[in-house]
Symmetry: C2
Subunit: 169 residues, 2 copies
């Protein structure tokens, strides 16, 4: 029987690699990958995981699952980048979350399996952000172009971050 309250279960994650990106701080970094093109970045994958990169070059787009290591402690109500009103955190893509895991769909430019280097564009991640997983993007699984997107449909036109979710004060 699972208790849904006061859960003390913990799991451990460990980076498979890191981002090498031109973005060194949150201010000015695109808030979503789609606003980040055509800036290029690299994903450096640790040697022990490189064999798993085979065939990734067959894809034009990939998901980067990342650990948003420089986000502030979370609050359950936030004013997101693209709004002026306070919203529930889970209705936002803000980086400060109970488990600060990011999902970024980025364009894949090249894969060097041997060196463990992916070149990507359209990244929204800070330099040195830990990468936890890489998955292929599949329109069949991931693309729902006609979904209404709540307040994001009427949101204001902010495409880069300020420092409201950053750890730099």
């Amino acid at each position: 029987m699972i208790s849904y309250n006061s859960d003390m279960t913990k799991f451990t994650v460990s980076p498979i690699g890191y981002v090498k990106s031109p973005y060194k701080e949150q201010s000015g970094t695109p808030i979503q990958p789609s606003f980040g093109e055509p800036v290029e970045a690299e994903i450096r994958v640790s040697s022990e995981f490189r064999e798993g990169l085979v065939d990734l070059d067959l894809f034009d787009r990939i998901w980067l699952i990342s650990w948003l290591d420089r986000s502030r402690p979370y609050k359950l109500k936030v004013i997101p980048y693209r709004d002026t009103k306070e919203r529930g955190l889970f209705a936002c893509r803000a980086p400060s979350r109970p488990n600060p895991i990011g999902i970024s769909s980025v364009r894949l430019l090249s894969v060097d399996v041997k060196k463990g280097i992916l070149r990507v564009s359209g990244i929204d991640l800070l330099d040195r952000t830990p990468i936890l997983d890489i998955k292929p993007y599949s329109p069949k699984f991931d693309s729902f172009p006609d979904e209404p997107a709540g307040w994001l449909d009427e949101s204001i036109d902010q495409e880069t971050a300020d420092n409201r979710f950053g750890s730099e004060d």
Copy 2:
């Protein structure tokens, strides 16, 4: 200076809630949410996080970030569900991964903030799967309908799992 090899960095994640789904074992469970409709399931969110669910009802589709707790230890080369050929793990959506984090785009049917219950359809997750995060789905950030999807474009027509990545033997 970050070392990209033999990384000993660890981060800890903890569930914000759990899935209550009709799928009790991997065999027969949809391998992706888009194959799972119209089966309904619930996400039960722990009381301490419920305030963050406000405004989520404005969205028709959400991302569930989950911990795939019943997947086998990973291998870097796998024969995925929808292929007959061995592929690099990161070119697959197989659940057995170095960090077994799943991303599932599901349809959101209703939100009860007070009780912490989301009703969703199109789920591909086993009953009692830990949920690490919930994010709104936004076509602007997430939908790329025309991307070529590598070997998945020519893949065989398997829509439900067998037990190849399961822990049940």
